[in-house]
Symmetry: C2
Subunit: 365 residues, 2 copies
């Protein structure tokens, strides 16, 4: 089981530099580290003095580096899709489409990277995977994907099953599936088997993101007001995807009380400025990023108190919207929506009140 | 018809600052300008000293500002989808799903923003739309979406039509569509009518991105080597989506010959550093960004010479991959794949050779 670490913050605050230093520090302590770069531009390679490729390469002892390339990952995933198709379809049709011709659409980068991280994690080859992503909303969308996608599947499945459409279409499912597929599933199995497999995968992903021993983020900032505000914003936004933020890394500046106050209760560590290629001062200044504990949980459900408490630092009440249109309670903040499945004791109950206190939104039922 | 301008470059080089100054400059010259921010963080608001909202607000004469919020845009789009469904389906099923509960998945930000830009463009209210996006691969994926999505539709439609699956399924299309839809389309129309509408929309989008009088980008960089290399990389990558880059804005530095050489034949303009809130020095230093002309076209097809020439600055031959697996020629560069539809005279011909010269890849047939 590998710990996945990533860095959030405004562009230009040194996230990639910090990611490299963190990878080198953990490798020097004996952890088997994979440094995975998302941005296809030249920055990671220039800072490393190497040319990272789409397959992991050894950089130094215990430290490998990989550069995700969506075009390459898509080509490889396509081969997997074709294998699955050949397994289930009597006359596969995708065999005539080549992975080498598939273009990359918005969102594919995130889906492919998340899948690649999952596979590297499952390989058992690494103790720590450091993901140098875009470090902004895009990274949060990627980590929020398992939860949101499983919500879509669950919600729309119910809508379809409750609909007239399903009653109209279902008599045709059996003859079509028998004609098209190798196996003769009943209508129900046809819909359920692949869906359940996907659901299990998404549920495991959601659970991993919510566990600070599996996935954690650190904020990187300078003392510039826009950088500090952006870091605070991502801190709050991270909670919306259930991601724990372990601390703040203040790049090339000394820690002041004013800066620390913005991030209570997180520890703020000061990182020195050092000439390109001289990693030791940075490595020495970094805390051990594997120690993420004692921090507020993104969500706490108190059944006897009939209360759900959400940790949403960096937001005020005006920036948070609470709705109860569908079967669940929806929290909107940081341009993200989170649907909270309530435990049976609170499910279906109307919200009695919500107040914002000490960075917590407390919802009473 | 509005001109859409955007800025590409490494994070922290001042893209948002430049976008604001450009908006103010063009508005002061009498153009009706919309400044559209993508990043949901606080930067744009802090720099503007305002709180941009999801609906355009007047900032000063001729200048409006809007902050895209994907959660809000998704909610509004969903209402449109439900209207369409009610129009075509006998028993609409999506009416029970509320826009207020829909979460944002990777890629939706780009698709929703592109749609919002298209609607603001079509409104006739603006002469210039300045899009302050993430300024990196994500912006390029967004602008490449019309071309790539229309390729997917075209390619997979052909695959399906040629397949046994279609022959198996098509007898069921008629009874299902009659039972489910209000109108009794024939199987062919059922597949064709909505597809053609989407194709027209995508084709108009593709044509707009390829026309420098409709959409253009500028590179923003400092003199830092990683910033310059990143700007070069995006310059080449922009060609892969057919986007014209109009020039280079060198932030807070004087132009040197060494920097200019990296971007020949683009003009490099130096922008001064100025205290927060003092926009005039920046406004005065910016060139007129509406004048994009005389620049290399991303693609030139020379039928008599049996040659296709692609302008790919910032790449060398090793970074560009040419394949001919499918019916078209595929160019892979900058983690993007572009499928080139050849004119009838060259279509289906094998590639005889390819050479890289003066930033051009010349492919001979």
């Amino acid at each position: 089981m590998a710990l996945i670490l990533t860095f959030l913050g405004k562009g230009g605050t040194g996230r990639t530099t910090v990611a490299i230093a963190a990878a080198k520090q953990l490798a020097s302590k004996g952890a088997r580290v994979l440094l995975a770069g998302q941005d296809p531009g030249p920055t990671l390679g220039l800072l490393l003095g190497a040319s990272p490729s789409p397959d992991p390469q050894e950089l130094e002892q215990n430290l490998q580096v990989v550069q995700f390339q969506s075009a390459v990952l898509l080509e490889r995933s396509w081969e997997e899709v074709k294998k699955l198709e050949a397994q289930y379809l009597r006359t596969p049709l995708l065999k005539n489409v080549y992975g080498q011709e598939l273009g990359v659409l918005p969102g594919m980068d995130s889906a492919l990277a998340l899948n690649a991280i999952r596979e590297y994690e499952a390989s058992g080859k690494y103790d720590v995977i450091i993901y140098d992503g875009s470090g902004d909303q895009t990274t949060l969308r990627m980590l929020g994907m398992p939860e949101i996608l499983s919500w879509y599947i669950r919600r729309f499945r119910k809508v379809v099953e409750d609909s007239d459409l399903w009653r109209t279409v279902s008599p045709f499912i059996q003859p079509i599936s028998s004609a098209v597929l190798n196996v003769s599933w009943s209508g129900d199995n046809f819909a359920q088997q692949p869906t359940n497999e996907v659901n299990n995968l998404l549920e495991r992903g959601r659970a991993a993101v919510a566990d600070p021993n599996r996935v954690a983020a650190y904020l990187v900032t300078t003392s510039a007001p826009t950088a500090v505000s952006t870091a605070q914003y991502f801190w709050g936004s991270a909670q919306q995807v259930g991601l724990t933020v372990g601390g703040v890394l203040l790049n090339q500046e000394s820690v002041t009380e004013a800066i620390s106050e913005n991030f209570t209760p997180l520890a703020v560590s000061s990182l020195p400025s050092s000439p390109p290629g001289d990693w030791q001062p940075l490595i020495d200044a970094l805390p051990d990023l594997r120690q993420v504990s004692g921090l507020p949980k993104p969500i706490e459900i108190d059944i006897p108190g009939r209360q759900v408490r959400l940790f949403l630092p960096g937001f005020d009440k005006k920036q948070v919207k609470l709705t109860q249109y569908g079967p669940e309670v929806t929290i909107e903040a940081g341009d993200q929506r989170r649907n909270i499945s309530l435990p049976p004791q609170l499910s279906g109950q109307p919200v009695k009140g919500a107040k914002f206190q000490n960075s917590y939104l407390a919802i009473s039922f």
